[in-house]
């Protein structure tokens, strides 16, 4: 019997499957949404796309699973490497995929400055609330009070709202979706890959780590996914909630959307001025 195949597989390196991710890890769902966006845009071959990642579970998505050029860089340094690639060859579409620790903690400065420059990159940050790869320590996104190996008495710090922080910069596009909001997420990917094709485009995916967040709550990844379908709401709705209700919900949506010239457009203008 000829079996049908998942649409994602044509974008993946089959010889290394199944992935090294834990059973039920949401990273694979983000991949599905991304690949479905490519498919719906009619992009079947990724040879003009370069994926750049840092260190962490989510950084393994492109390296080695995506069948495209990929640079698996140092912890936190995906954005500068991606910047170098894009500036050296503007023909390439450069996509960064990384974790909340990688992009917002150790690489946080690069994130801010790439956004400020409106650098022509797509950045996908998987916020799994912890450092998954190193066994679930607290990240800058870890909710206050959460117990992890480095916060055994509960996290004393306030988490960082990365999407809203970046929304206050010069970036062209900023959105946050929960992994449960699959169609919104896929449509955001389509937007930044097919429509707004320049400037800094940042998508945060709220996707708690199955092993070090969900299992610690004694839940299954399926149960958590269904729970997220209720806890993740549009930010306009979230803003109208009373304060004590807000902490129980995740505000999602598109925080910023523009199509102004990116870094490269401005750089090209400067070169053109030189030639005159």
């Amino acid at each position: 019997m000829i079996k049908h195949e998942h649409l994602s597989l044509k974008y993946m390196r089959r010889e290394v499957l199944p992935t090294a991710f834990c059973p039920g890890c949401y990273n694979g769902i983000v991949m599905n949404a991304l690949f479905q966006a490519f498919e719906e845009l009619g992009i079947y071959d990724l040879r003009k796309y370069v994926f750049v990642s840092g260190i962490g579970c989510s950084s393994w998505i492109p390296s080695p699973y995506i069948k495209a050029d990929s640079l698996h860089t140092l912890h936190g340094r995906a954005i500068p490497v991606a910047t170098g690639v894009k500036l050296a060859n503007p023909e390439l579409e450069v996509i960064v995929i990384g974790g909340d620790g990688d992009l917002a903690s150790i690489g946080g400065n690069h994130l801010l400055h790439a956004a400020r420059r409106n650098m022509d990159l797509v950045v996908i940050m998987i916020n799994n609330l912890v450092y998954g790869m190193t066994r679930g320590q607290a990240a800058p996104t870890t909710p206050k009070g959460m117990v992890t190996p480095t916060t055994p008495y509960g996290n004393p710090e306030e988490p960082m709202d990365v999407a809203r922080l970046i929304a206050n910069t010069n970036a062209n596009y900023v959105a946050r979706w929960c992994v449960s909001q699959y169609l919104f997420l896929k449509n955001s990917f389509k937007k930044v890959l097919g429509e707004i094709k320049r400037g800094f485009r940042f998508i945060e995916v709220y996707a708690p780590c199955t092993t070090f967040v969900i299992r610690r709550e004694n839940k299954t990844p399926g149960q958590k996914l269904k729970e997220l379908m209720n806890t993740c709401i549009g930010y306009e709705k979230w803003e109208k909630l009373p304060a004590e209700e807000r902490t129980k919900h995740i505000p999602t949506g598109v925080f910023r959307e523009e199509d102004k010239p990116g870094f490269l457009d401005n750089y090209k203008q400067l070169i053109a001025r030189l030639k005159r």
Partner: protein, 370 residues
Amino acid sequence: MKRMFLSGNEAVAYGAIDAGCRFYAGYPITPSSEIMHMMAKLLPEAGGVFIQAEDELAAINMIIGASWAGLKSMAATSGPGFSLMQEGIGYAVMTETPLVIVDVMRAGPATGQATKAAQGDLMQTRWGRHGDQYLVVLAPESPQEAYDLIIEAFNISESLRTPVVFLMDEFIGHGREVVFRKEPGEIKLVERRRSSDHEPLFGSDDPRIPPPMPRLGEGYYVLVTGSTHNEYGYRDVHSFETHYKLVRRLKEKIWGNIDKVFKYEVIGDPGRAEKAIVCFGSTCRSAKEAVMGLDNVLLIRLITLWPLNYDLLRELLSNVRLVVVPELSLGQLIYDVQQVIDSGIKVVGVNKVGGGVPIYPSEIKKALEV
């Protein structure tokens, strides 16, 4: 050939442009900033890209990305910035990324004396990173040599697919002299070997021959990783064989090509000399003055500081009874000399650092009188 009057820093920038460098990322720091200023001016005119990075961590990683996208790339910095770049340089070694990193040395540690010359980063250029890693270190003694040698630095980085550290000090960086700038036709340029379909991108049968390197976007589905990888780029973070084979090959790629990359200058007759001076960079200028008229002193100026040809150094020093090693530091190169001489031969360091005070020829002369 064009006659110019340039500082070492300016000469580096012109040399880099003439070597085909088309991407620069950096963060301002004394005493290297003039390189950055020049590149900001020259690169857009040459059709290249200049970007001021948010820090040196970004700078080194930007040039890594640009190199994989196909451009010859450079970053220049000084002490504190060079320290921040170390992890990225290690990544470039592991991924065999051609780059040139210029370190214009100032007095350290920490912020030290930002405007004052020193030579205390020598060991850091070799051993500043974690793990087993080897690269090439070159050191000019004048603006003219800075110009010529930076072109060579790019050629070596391309031919061996390796980062090359270009080590200067503040005296050379800021000192101005006549420099002859070559015309395009007068320069021999080396380009990295491009890919053919069947060759692996991270392995070769002969470790001295680096694997080919495609540009991103050419359809090779390149897997670049700083983690241990097999010859096709696939991560293997468990097996002894893969790791051992990889780091051995990367080491052999540098040391096995020592004949191609080791450069030095000798003044005097090794057969007749009783005494010797071993030096690099700006201190050699005082040393050269010190040996003028002395026919029993051998002067060995190391232009390549890594890999170091210990056998050759041993041979050159085999007949002398005294070696003087002047350094603008508390002594680092002296360890190399101590490694190759027989016991009984005296090794004397002339060490000074700070305040922008040079080592005077008279001080070297005095040391030779021992």
